[in-house]
Every structure is written in structure tokens, then in C-alpha cells.
Amino acid sequence: MNEHMTLDTWKVGDTELASRFLLGTAGYPSPQVLCDAIAASGTQVVTVGLKRSLGAAGDNGFIGMIRDAVRAQGARLLPNTAGCRQAREAVQLAHMARELYDTAWIKLEVVGDEHTLQPDTFELVDAARQLVRDGFTVLPYCTDDLVTCRRLLDAGCPVLMPWAAPIGSGQGIVNPQALRTLRERLPDATLIIDAGIGAPSHAAQALEMGFDAVLLNSAVSQSGDPVTMAGAFRDAIRAGRAAHRAGVMASQSFAVPSTPVTGQPFILGA
């Protein structure tokens, strides 16, 4: 591999990252499996959450092990505002996350529909503006709507995270045309595909399309073997990125012979 192909980092704000795989931590069968999956993924960004606590059961050691795994790997935590329905709630939760996790990075989620968990774009933009003013590095989970994405960039978000499909659905990229348009219209924006990825091939497709990274959780944690699946996604993401950089050939509606023959090799029955 030439040197040009090896120097392939990207940035969230001022932070330079090599891995293009952001991994969620929910739903793993045990803390050890999660830690092994984090190691196998090679991720440098791991998402976490917050929960109202008093009546809740303990976390069964997950958070302690996540912190250890992240430290060992030189990765960062990315807390989310899952469960928020209003900008005001999300802003308060983000402040709490900054204190609990000691990071100004926040995955901003403000959901507007219970069935699809589709982001409420109005509340999302409002919350993003406030949090950027408050010094956060805001990574908003958003739809593929171009104008909303522009508003989020205008608000000061260094990265956008449009969905591939509804959270946890595993459907892959359901609207490639919208995402292609987003990529074309926002060529300088850092775009992470978040939510709906179900298989490594979906992640590879996102990278081939020119997206900068992918964030996923259930596709790994719900696998029968999360550690192996984390490695499969790592490899698929690398492959997709390499393919994008190399240049994927244009598809055509007709056949083009790949072997440079002239005419027919044998003329039988002549």
C-alpha cells in the first residue's frame, strides 16, 4: 500500500481520528463481550448514555469496563441524549453528560416520533444552537434532509450524523438517493452515517458513497458473536473507504467485455 493510502485520518472538531467506526455499547450479553468487541472494532469513539437512576438497577459493571477499555484503546467517549423529546431536555442532559463523562462531545438526539424514532429537526436545531454556545462539540443525529443539515452546520456542528434507516432496524441505507444528494451538496462537511446499519455490507456501501464514518450498535451487539461481527465491520469499513479513495467504477446499463479479445476466437461451422 502506498503512503498516500495509509495517511487517511479525519477530524471531529480539532480531534484527528484514524478509525472510521464509532461503536455503541448497549445490548451486549456481558461487559467482557463488549470490551472484546471494542478491541476487535479498533474504534476510537464509543457511545454511552445517561439514565434516571434511583429506581434503576445497576449497570452490572458495564460502565467501569467501558471506561477501562476506552482508556486502554486510547478512544473517546461520546455520550448521547437518548430519550429526549424537546430541545430544553436535551440541553440539560448534555450538561449532565459533560460532567459525568468529563467530555464536551455530545451525540445530540431529539426524537419527534415514537414509532420511527425520527429526529425532531426543529428541536434538534434549537438544541444544537444552544449547546454550541455552551461550548459543546455537537454531533447531531439527524435525517437526510439537506436543508436541516445546512441549519445544523450553520449552528456550528462540526459533524452531522444522518440516518441510514430507523434506529435499530438494521435495514441499511433505505434512501441512497437522498444521502447521495447530501454528500454532493455538502462536499466539505464531515458526515457520519448513524442508525439503521444492519450488515457490514451496509457500512461498506456508506463509505464507498463517500461518507466519512459510520456509527452503529445493534448490528454488533445483537449478533450471535459480537466480537467477530465487530471485526467484520472494521474490515468492511476499511474496504469501503479504500474503495471510495480508489474510485468506484461508474455503473452502466449495458455489458462491456472485460477481456480484450478481437472478434470471436473460433469461427465454428464456417
Binding site: V48, R52, S53, G55, P79, N80, Q92, M96, L100
Partner: protein
């Protein structure tokens, strides 16, 4: 002797001494300062402000803890 007051803690009624601070409530619950994030009436209260934040009757206190997430 101060009179007790009722507050809501994570949605449940709880009796605390009048004039209690948020930090004293955390102490009563056996929580270390870094164990939870705190909000009173929907407003985040930073760790450093808990000792000076005195609870009022009917205040709604929410505690948040770190958990796994996607």
C-alpha cells in the same frame, strides 16, 4: 429542630429536613459526588453548586447515572 419538607426524588415523594442542600440529599442516599448528575425542577445543577442549592417544598429532584448507550 427543623421541620421536614416533601420533595419529589425521581418522581417519588421523599421527606427531607427543611433547608437541606442537594449535596446533603446525595449524602443521605450514600452517593459520591461523581456517582450521579443532578437536576432540580428540570434544571441541571452542577456538582460544585450542590452544597449551596437548598431544596424547597415540592422540588423535583432527578438523578442521572452513566449507562450503556448507542
Amino acid at each position: 429542630m427543623t421541620a421536614p419538607i416533601d420533595i419529589l426524588l425521581d418522581g417519588q415523594v421523599r421527606c427531607v429536613a427543611e433547608g437541606s442542600s442537594l449535596q446533603q440529599l446525595m449524602d443521605e442516599l450514600g452517593l459520591q459526588p461523581a456517582d450521579a448528575g443532578t437536576a432540580v425542577n428540570g434544571q441541571f445543577v452542577p456538582r460544585a453548586a450542590r452544597a449551596e442549592h437548598h431544596l424547597q417544598p415540592g422540588d423535583s429532584v432527578l438523578l442521572f447515572r452513566a449507562i450503556v448507550g448507542g
